[in-house]
Each structure stands twice: as structure tokens, then as C-alpha cells.
Symmetry: C2
Subunit: 222 residues, 2 copies
DNA sequence: ACCTGAACACCGTTCAAGT
DNA sequence: ACCTGAACACCGTTCAAGT
């Protein structure tokens, strides 16, 4: 978790005040609560997240939470937002590791970065797509972060179509196909359903499937 | 929900006793609790399921539940088991509607039946893959029902490979690819993320994707 | 064998009050 | 501006008791 938290911490860390550490006026309770939630998600699964428990972990009364979040769903939305930021960062890092990649190869790399992140943060990833997040419209920052992640996939698909490396189908349809596949693979892995002796590891599956799908689509084009 | 409930109800209905309708000795409280849960899942989403609420709906005290289920997870496992039975039934029904279909076509039909069921019962389907169901090993009936659903996909993939209508890759890898795709498509749909003006309906997407993927894989084979 | 009622240790959330 | 404490309406679960 640590590396990714450092990435998304940038905005919060600067606002820590001088009185941090005292009981009264916590400094950055909002950040402390989110960090406590991320730690709890990483250690136990989701579902065990309670506002009262997070308040305890932050050394603060249960009702102090409501100074920083409207309710539990509001806190979960903030966590989900950071999740999509981490997802985008994971995809971006993978792209930059292989600068000269072709259009289609870039799409495969994005998929690997996507699955990498999802299986490295299973509880966090599940929360990002959990039932509580259905009302995404009420959380503009969450909607924007999710749209950015999806936009990266869309751009790569669009580029590959333009370059003639994918069949000339509508971009939204191909993007949805690709997204369904990485999302499904990540979810099944995080449910423990891919831990079978007759399957390679999910990281390798991700790579194999990416190559397979991309090449297959490429052949299909004519 | 009704049609599918009738299918899976067979075992329960026969045990309804003569005193059904009285307060004391409910008749088949176990079945009544499951049905109340299915109704609650269909009406509200998941997450709102409470044992006490189900007991209220069945007209019984909160603690009566524990005469029929060890705990909440045990009830959820029973519901998830019926879900996989419904999933298998949905796939089977689709197959029987098109008896003369070829090997590859049968696989596509299975995928359509799978997605059909998943998007017709979103809350139920989510529960089947929810975080609570990770300990599937502790519920043999659940594990068996899930294995049967997955086995239908595996059989169709295996047959298509044998018939030379899919690339000669390991069956588990191709099955996982296919499963990831239908699962991801269903989950994204049920999260409301495919309700976009630039996309066709999910039923049509399911059909398009099946044809695309099957044909693409078929081309890739040589 | 099947169900009830009281009780325990939790929740999320509200509201008045403290500094 | 930020936090606390008491209170309310819920949970899941246990245990002794009722028929």
C-alpha cells in the first residue's frame, strides 16, 4: 500500500497543522481517517469498515468524523476516488516503463497496469465497484477520477483503431469489451477463484490474455 | 424472480406442514426466510439485508432464524447456492432453445444465458460474488453449485477446442478468459456503468461480444 | 423440535454542549 | 472551527426459558 499512498497523499500532507499530536484539533483528521480506512481495508477485507472503528484508530470520538464527512458513504467515496487515482497512476507507470511501444501494445500494457493495481489492492478495488458506489453521480470527484481511468483505456483503444491495429468497430464497444475483460479478471482473482493449480498466476494470465485478445482482434480486422 | 424461484423451490415446498400459517411452528421457516431475502434483494439492493428484518418479514422473532441457519453468512451461502442453480438453469434454457447449434455457437449461447441471468438479478448476482462468499470452502453445496455453472462453460470450451473451433490453448486458460469477460460485463452493467448513450443495451453487447470474441479466437487459431 | 424474550456488544447518526 | 458525550434506533448473536 505504501508506495501508492505516497502518490495520492500529496494534497493532504501539506495541510497538517502545528498542533498535530494533541487530542484537541487533530491537524488533519480527514487524512488520518482515510489512512486508517486504507490500512483496515488492506489488513481485513471490506465490510469490516466502521466509522466508529476508524475514529478509535484515529484517537478521536465517534462523532468527530461528521466534521469531515457527511456520512459513511461520503468517506467511502473519498476512498474510492483515491483508488481510481492509484489505478490511473499504475497504468501510467507501466506505460512509461516501455516508451517505444506501438498502439496495440500500449493498450495491452494499460490492461496489465490495471490488473496489477486491482490485485495488489483487492479490498480497495472491490470498494471502488461496490454497491455503495452506485450513486456515483453524487460525488463529482469520484466520477472525475473514474472517468480519467476509463479515459486512458478509451484513448488507447481509439489510437489503435486509428492506426489500423484494431478492427474498425465503434470505440465505445471495443473499450467496453476490453474493460469488461480486465475488470472481470481482477474481480475473479480477488474472489480467489483463479487460484487453481491448472492456471498460471494472474499476472501472467493478464499478460497472456492481453496478447491473445489484441492479436486475435488484430487478425479479425480484415 | 418468480419463474426462477419456482425452479429452485422444489426441495423446500414439499416440506410445508399442516400447521403453516399459525404463529407457532411456522411450517417451513427456512424457505420463508430465503424467499424474504430474495424479495428484499430484488427490491432494494444488497447490503440492506438484515436477519432481524427478514425475521420480521416472516412474522417470527429475531432469534428463530438461528434454528435454521448457523449465522448470517450461512443464510447468504444458501441464497448464493440458489443463485448458481438459477445461473445454470438460465444457461441450459438458452442452449435448449437452439438445439442444432455448433460447438462455438453453443459457447456464445452459454455466455448470453449467463449475462441474461446476471443482469436480471443484479443484487442476487452481486451477493454470489460478494466479499462474504470468499470462504466458499466452508459451504459444500455452494461450492458444488458454483462448480456446476463453471463446468458448463468448461465443457463448451473443451468441446470447441476439440472440434477445432477455438485455438489449441489450454482449456482452463480459455475458460478463464471467457468467464472473466462475461463476469466483467455483468458486473459493470449491474454497477450502472454501461448505461451510456454511445453503447447498445447490455443484452445486445453480450451478443455482439460473444460473436466478436468467438470469431476472433477462431481466426487466431492458425 | 421449534420458537420467544431479555441481554450484550456493537453499529450509524443526531443533537446539545463544551473550548 | 473543531471536538465530546449522551441518546436513539438499529444490528448479529447468545442464553435461558417457554410449549
Amino acid at each position: 500500500m505504501s508506495a501508492y499512498v505516497n502518490v495520492v497523499n500529496i494534497n493532504g500532507v501539506g495541510t497538517v497543522s502545528a498542533v498535530q499530536g494533541e487530542n484537541y484539533h487533530h491537524g488533519d483528521l480527514r487524512r488520518a481517517l482515510i489512512d486508517a480506512a486504507l490500512a483496515a481495508l488492506a489488513e481485513n477485507g471490506p465490510g469490516t469498515l466502521s466509522l466508529r472503528g476508524l475514529a478509535r484508530a484515529a484517537g478521536v470520538s465517534a462523532t468527530a468524523v461528521y466534521r469531515h464527512f457527511a456520512n459513511k458513504e461520503d468517506l467511502l467515496a473519498a476512498i474510492a476516488t483515491e483508488g481510481f487515482e492509484g489505478l490511473s497512476a499504475s497504468m501510467q507507470q507501466r506505460l512509461e516503463r516501455e516508451p517505444g511501444a506501438g498502439r496495440l501494445r500500449r493498450l495491452v500494457i494499460l490492461g496489465e497496469g490495471y490488473v496489477d493495481y486491482a490485485i495488489a489492492h483487492p479490498a480497495h478495488y472491490r470498494l471502488m465497484f461496490g454497491p455503495r458506489m452506485l450513486a456515483r453521480g453524487e460525488y463529482p470527484a469520484l466520477a472525475a477520477a473514474a472517468a480519467h481511468s476509463y479515459g486512458m483505456l478509451e484513448q488507447a483503444v481509439s489510437d489503435a483503431i486509428t492506426a489500423g491495429e484494431l478492427p474498425a468497430m465503434p470505440e465505445p464497444v471495443l473499450s467496453t469489451l476490453f474493460w469488461s475483460w480486465v475488470h472481470g479478471l481482477a474481480m475473479l482473482n480477488n474472489d480467489g477463484l483463479l487460484a487453481r493449480s491448472d492456471l498460471p498466476g494472474t499476472n501472467e494470465l493478464s499478460h497472456d490474455f492481453g496478447e491473445l485478445l489484441a492479436n486475435a482482434l488484430n487478425q479479425f480486422r480484415e
